[in-house]
Every structure is written in C-alpha cells, then in structure tokens.
C-alpha cells in the first residue's frame, strides 16, 4: 500500500479512506500479482535477445551477444526462413484487410435491409457460429470439404467436368483458401459492431429520404454508409496497426509441408525455431522485433485516427 501517492490529504482523512476502502486493494491484489508475474516478469527474459542463451547459466550471468548485443537481430534478418515468415505475415494480413475488412460491412448493410425480423435473427445466429469454432476444427472441416480426391467441393467440380482444385496443397491456392476461411470465420461476428453503429442512425433520415423518392441503393450510399463512416475508419486504422501481428492457430492448423513457403508466419517461426529448435535468443529477438514494431504501428494508427477527427484507440 506504500505505492499509493500520498495526496496532500491530512492523515486522518487518509486513515479514514483506507479503513473504508482497504478491501478494494485486497480484491486488486490477486489480479495485480497475476499481471506482474505473467505479463511483466516475462519481460525480464527479453534480455536474452541480446545475450547468448545458456541452459546452465542464470539470466544475469549469460554473456552479451556479439555486435554490441545485436547479433541475433542481424542473424534473424539474414535468415531466409525469418524473411519468408515476415513477408508472409505482411502478405496474409494485407489480404485479410483487402478482402476480409469490407465483407462484414457489406453483410451488415444487407442485414439492415432485411425486413423479416425473424429471418434476420436466424441469419445472424447462423453467421456468428464460425466465430466460436477453433481453427483446429475449421482446418478439420476445410481439409475434408476441400480434399483433392474425396472432398465435397472437388467431387462436385469433377461431376460438372472440371479439374480438381488443390485448395490447400499448392501455394497460390492455399493463400486464397486461407483468406476465404478467414472471411468465413469472422464475417458474421464482425457485423455486430457495424449493426450497432447502424442502430445509432436517426430513422427520420430514412423516412425523409423515402419521401424524396430515394431508392434503396441511394439510401445505403447517402445515409447508412455515412452513418457508420467513423466506425469504419477507426476499425480500419486499428486493423492497419496490427499488420505485423500474427495469429498462430490459423496458419499452423491450415499449413502443411507443401505450402510451408507461404504459410509460415512470425508466430509459427518462433514456435518452430524457439520451442522446437531451442534457438531461444534468436526467437526472443524476433518476438521483440514484432512487439516493438507492433506498438509503433499502433501508436501511429492512433495518431492517424485522431487526425481523421475520430476517437483514438490508445
């Protein structure tokens, strides 16, 4: 409790305050210890990015790495596998932004145009479902549905006289399937925020537009879209801020030996070379690079959002 800054209040008031509210600190104790142990203590281990990791020496005894400690960062950027992982992280994120970002906006607008309330609710319930499935389950579904020889989709394609498509076994196809499955998983869930924004639009605007004889598309263009513009801008900028972020489960579960060159991302690189390959210094350096660049991008995104006159995110 000595951490609490002693605000000019007199001693009696302070004692009164603590005798009343000490239980609040008691409540905070558990989560605070949790945060310190599992979020801040790991930060101490970041120093092994600048040190030669040794199993037998303690964290403080390990010798510094070469090149003033930057040895492993230099190694990472000379490592072909890391460069691939970095490139793939950015490419897959960009594809998610280009195709995955507009999808829920379109679906939210479509749902808003739906007049049958019960059907709307049903569509929403079904569309939220994929969000609750793990990437392992989705990969399991995808592997069976898209299998080259026995999968449903290829059976249908063959019966129509087309060639079978190697959805998950050729790099280009894999990237497309990966992007599609991302949309499949998140489109419904991501409509929630846009639908909430649409609810905030004044219904009188729609009535006035209808009186003026504006058609459906014009109402969407002139009322719905401007009404959710700020939500779109903020979410888009946040999404840009996460461009170097990488999921683990999705590329790991969908990837296979035939597409490694395009499916490995920073998170899977760290797993393969760190936890499996025991190159702790190298992979800690890579993780630190990702975190630091991530923070910089997010702060930049926040600045950008504020420049657009929107509420920031930080």
């Amino acid at each position: 409790m000595d951490r609490i800054p002693n605000v000019s209040a007199n001693n009696r008031g302070l004692r009164n305050y603590f005798s009343r509210y000490w239980t609040l600190y008691l409540l905070l104790l558990t989560p605070f210890v949790y945060i310190v142990v599992f979020k801040y203590v790991p930060m101490l281990y970041i120093q092994i990015a600048f040190k030669k990791y040794s199993l037998v020496k303690s964290l403080w005894e390990m010798p510094w790495a070469n090149n003033n400690g930057w040895e492993y960062f230099i190694k990472a950027f000379n490592n072909r596998d890391f460069i691939f992982a970095l490139r793939n992280t950015i490419v897959l994120n960009l594809l998610d932004i280009i195709f995955g970002f507009p999808a829920p906006i379109i679906l939210a607008i479509v749902l808003n145009e739906l007049r049958f309330k019960r059907f709307k609710r049903f569509t929403q319930t079904v569309a939220y479902m994929p969000h609750f499935l793990s990437w392992i389950i989705i990969a399991g579904l995808a592997l069976q549905v898209f299998a080259p020889s026995t999968g449903l989709v290829n059976n249908v394609l063959r019966s129509w006289g087309f060639e079978a498509v190697p959805f998950l076994n050729k790099p280009g196809h894999w990237i497309a399937t990966y992007t599609f499955l991302g949309i499949w998983q998140s489109i419904g869930w991501n409509t929630i925020i846009y639908l909430a924004a649409i609810t905030g639009i004044n219904p009188e605007l729609y009535e006035a537009a209808a009186m003026d004889g504006a058609g459906r598309l014009r109402r969407i263009w002139h009322i719905t879209l401007p009404g959710i513009r700020s939500t779109i801008v903020v979410l888009f900028i946040i999404r840009l801020g996460y461009i170097l972020g990488s999921e683990f489960d999705r590329p790991y579960a969908l990837g296979n030996a035939l597409v490694n060159n395009v499916s490995s991302v920073i998170a899977t690189f760290i797993y393969h070379f760190g936890i499996r390959g025991l190159q702790f210094s190298l992979t800690t350096a890579v993780g630190l690079f990702q975190s630091v660049v991530g923070v910089i991008f997010l702060l930049a995104a926040d600045k950008l959002a504020k420049k657009f006159g929107e509420r920031g995110v930080v």
């Binding site: 609490i4 800054p5 509210y21 239980t23 609040l24 409540l27 905070l28 989560p31 949790y34 945060i35 599992f38 790991p42 101490l44 281990y45 679906l107 479509v110 145009e113 739906l114 049958f116 059907f119 319930t125 079904v126 939220y128 609750f132 499935l133 793990s134 392992i136 389950i137 399991g140 579904l141 592997l143 069976q144 549905v145 299998a147 080259p148 020889s149 026995t150 449903l152 998950l168 076994n169 499949w184 419904g188 929630i192 925020i193 459906r216 489960d249 579960a253 296979n256 030996a257 035939l258 760290i270 797993y271 936890i275 992979t283 800690t284 993780g287 991530g294 923070v295 995110v313 930080v314």
Partner: protein
Amino acid sequence: MITSRKSKLGDWIVVLICVFVILICLLPILHIAARSLSSTEALIKGQVGLLPIGLNLEAYVRVLEDGKFTRALWWTALLTVIGTLLSLVVTTMCAYPLTYEKLKGRKFFNTVIIFTMFFNAGTIPMYLLLKSIVFLNKPIVLIVPYCLSVFNMIIMRSFMNDLPVSMRESAEIDGAGPIRVLWSIYLPLCKPVIATLALFYAVGRWNGFSDALMFMNVREYYPIQLLLYNLIAAIQSIDVVSAEGGFSPGLTESLKAAAIMFATVPILLVYPWAQKYFIAGATLGAIKE
C-alpha cells in the same frame, strides 16, 4: 414505407444473399455430420454430400470406445469449468475496484494493466518463465497463465461503469463496505456481462490449442483440440499422398469426422442461448476507453 416493384426486387436480392450466407456457414458442418454417419464404402467412392449414405454409427461408437478421446473430452470439460470460474473471479476482482473513481492509485493500476494489452514479452519469454516456475507440462499451465484477459476485464469495467453510482453511494451511506456492495448490488446487476464473459472464456478454453502445444507434452493432459489436431494432421499427410500418387485415402475418414463433431457440438449447443448477451458484450468491447 413505399413498396415499389423495384424495392420488392431489392428485398428478394437481400433475402438471397442471406440464404447464401446461411448455406455457406452451415453446409460444411452438415457435410461433416453426414460423413461421420456414413459407411466407409460411400466415403471412399465420394458419394457423401449433405445426407449420410449407408447410415452407420460405428465411427461414434469407436471414438467413444477409444479411451484417449473420451478422457480428453472430460479433461477439457473440467479445464473449461475450472478455468472459466477462475477467470470470472479474477476478472471481477480486477474490474470492480477500478470502477471506484476515488480509488487512490487507480491511474497507476489502470496504466500497468492496460499497457500489457499493447506490449507483450512474447512466446519464448513466457515459455522460459513457465519453465523456471515449474509450470511446464503440469496441468496448471492450462489454467493459470492466461486466466485474465485484459480485454474482457475492460468489457466488465465498462458495464459496471454504466451502472448508476447513486446506488452504490446510498448503500455506502447505509454502512455497506465495498465487498458488500459488490456482492449484493453489483454482481446481481452484472449477470448479462458475466454470462457474456463466461461464454468468451469457456469457448476460449474449449478451443485452446497453442498453449497446450507449446507448454504441455504429457499426453494424458492433452486437451481435445491438441488431440484433434494430431488426428487431422494425419488426414492431411494421407491426403497429400493421395493427391500426388492417387492412393485411396484411409478407412478412418468417418472416424475423423466423428471426432470433429465431438469437439464442435458442445459449442453449437451453447452459443445460440447466449446471443442476446454476447452481442452487447462484443459492442462494449469495441468501445474502449
């Protein structure tokens, strides 16, 4: 509203798009369900579409007879229950005090906690920490290290912030302390947000994979997703072979479909009931302070 012929056409297009979305979401699940119930011959011949052919429950019987799989199901259910309860308790303990505006040090606690949302040490430091505190490969590693989600805590905090302060103040005048106020005023009112977060945490634990992959190598403690992945990775290698060499795929296809169903059905049964809660939760979470 004016219903011209043009807007009627528009209505139909809108309905068609929604039907399309529904089909795209449901068909894969229906197909896997059909596969899990079909005979091996029909599967090899690729006859199975959306309805089972040569109805056969053998796959389910064999998955249930396989001790490893049923044990993983029970183990994951147990982890989910314990993990969710612990997470809810810790999340409440964190969110509630931070709603007191006059809490001294509130800014400090907020900053320390929120900072971890933007910067984290990374996977390897976490791994080394868990190793040094001897959590690695112990059951506890699947429960404690990720028990508090700061994001979920913020959802709960914003919900509590929206409750009228006057209620709390009048209870305080009557002599109720913070714990009493939490227990008899806040918690009952927080049922919707607790339900939402319970769903988020439970789904997260049921679906959890990477923590087990990285931090747990004792087979008896594998959660269902890790077991399922090992099974699916096996399908994959077989199918890669068949894509290249034209071999017929293994006879265990329906077994794998049945295993996927076991991991999926619990979620399909739970999430629709919580819909009205999680929509509010998801919207709150997006509006960060």
